[in-house]
């Protein structure tokens, strides 16, 4: 019996095969949107789509995984909260394809934003400097690169796992560290082990950083185009539901936290 348990454990430990998550209109996250058709004059929210990570509630985790949060909480400063869904739990990447529905060449931008279990990041709501009318708009968590596309052509791309780790950390630095969005985006933090909030307080170590639980895509084409995207989730700890967003209600948690409010 012990031998079988060992085999099952070994198989479980090595099983971090990717799971491809796409929209499930009949599931608990029925409002998610994975296909964005937009024009040059489209505006939010027509330009945007969201996809939730199908995370299981911690009550459905293995007890050892659930207990780890309390163990980690003992290791950090009492003022630092160890989140439920952490960077160590899973890796995310976003794969997308853009189709130019126009017979002329064009250019588009694909911006990536997102939310963790506490806060969502929407750069369109952020005013970096209210006194400056010509201030640049707040940056997205990733993307904002012009990409050319031929007439009726298609272009595929991906936001890699390391880019989404960086995005999750940038969101933490802004919301828990008080970093300016530009500073957070323009510094590479994916290999950092901790950061100290600018407004004071205890250092927040990497083990207490939140992972994204929702990915938001903003698609900005200069003519009629369509973007399709999906999530690729690679779990390191069993916190992702195997049925993805098709899981029955109650077996996954859909987080739609309040938007981050920037205070200059």
């Amino acid at each position: 019996m012990r031998r079988y348990a060992l085999i099952i454990t070994l198989v479980g430990c090595t099983n971090n095969e990717p799971q491809y998550v796409t929209c499930a209109p009949m599931g608990p996250a029925g409002g998610d949107k994975c296909t964005i058709e937009a024009f040059a004059d489209s505006a939010l929210p027509d330009q945007s789509g969201s996809l939730h990570v199908p995370v299981k509630p911690d009550s459905a985790w293995r007890s050892t995984d659930r207990d780890r949060r309390a163990e980690l909480q003992m290791l950090v400063d009492p003022s630092v909260t160890v989140p439920i869904y952490r960077l160590e739990h899973y890796d995310l990447s976003v794969e997308w394809q853009v189709t130019n529905l126009d017979s002329a060449p064009g250019t588009f931008y694909v911006d990536l934003n997102g939310a963790n279990e506490e806060v969502a990041y929407d750069p369109s709501l952020i005013d970096i400097d209210p006194t400056d009318d010509e201030e640049p708009p707040a940056p997205p968590l990733a993307g904002a690169i012009p990409i050319d596309i031929g007439p009726n052509g298609t272009v595929q791309g991906v936001f890699r796992e390391d880019q989404l780790v960086e995005a999750a950390i940038d969101l933490e630095q802004m919301t828990r560290g008080g970093f300016n969005p530009f500073r957070a985006m323009l510094t590479v933090s994916k290999n950092d082990e901790a950061f100290t909030p600018l407004l004071g307080g205890a250092e927040i170590p990497r083990i207490a950083w939140r992972q994204l639980v929702r990915v938001d895509i903003v698609f900005r084409p200069d003519r009629h185009m369509q973007l399709e995207f999906n999530l690729r989730v690679r779990e390191q700890v069993e916190v992702i539901h195997e049925k993805g967003l098709n899981a029955p209600g109650g077996e996954i948690v859909i987080y739609d936290p309040p938007d981050y409010v920037y205070t200059p």
Partner: protein, 189 residues
């Protein structure tokens, strides 16, 4: 003269017999093979041909009948409509089977068939509805045949086998598994 010819013919018939097949061991055996797995229509466009490894162990009950268990793994690029693109998945199979065969000198011919379990490593084919959400396992049936060349060493043989397998839970996906293998038979019988 006629008598001489008749006697010669009788002696020839008396000495002649059926050709003896090359000696081959029977008993416990192990096979290791390399090959390729190709999905059949209508799923050919959803996954590319992929390399395969297979191991089979079993027991010869007689020179013409054996049973065994087989485990196999193959790796394929998913060619579903993007996204995703350039993503690979693996198919793992484990089954029990029987093999019936006959030998003509150094060449043996066989047919085999069995049933077991197939597993897809990821849900990348969910997009084309080969797998349902959360589905990872299917019953698997396979059948096929092949030929085997017996080396002069009675324990060793090379073989070529072609099997078709069917996984009903994976939208009844079918594939052809073709492989070259080396067989070692432990027994001396």
């Amino acid at each position: 003269m006629r008598l001489l010819m008749t006697r010669s013919l009788v002696i020839l018939i008396a000495l002649a017999g059926t050709a003896q097949a090359r000696p081959a061991s029977t008993g416990f055996f192990a096979e290791g093979g390399l090959g390729a797995v190709t999905f059949l229509p209508p799923r050919t466009s959803d996954a590319a041909v992929g390399p395969e490894m297979e191991i089979r162990i079993g027991r010869d009950i007689a020179s013409w009948f054996s049973f065994g268990i087989v485990i196999a793994a193959s790796s394929h690029e998913a060619t579903v409509p993007p996204p995703p693109e350039h993503e690979w998945f693996q198919v793992y199979r484990g089954a029990g089977d029987v093999r019936l065969g006959t030998r003509a000198d150094s060449i043996a011919f066989f047919v085999e068939g069995g049933a077991g379990v197939a597993m897809f490593s990821s849900n990348v084919l969910e997009k084309v509805m080969v797998v349902e959400p959360g589905e990872q396992f299917s019953i698997e049936f396979h059948a096929g045949g092949g030929l085997e060349y017996q080396l002069e060493n009675r324990h060793y043989a090379f073989g070529l086998a072609v099997n078709a397998f069917l996984a009903p839970q994976f939208d009844a996906i079918m594939a052809i598994d073709s492989r070259l293998y080396l067989r070692y038979t432990y027994g001396g019988g």
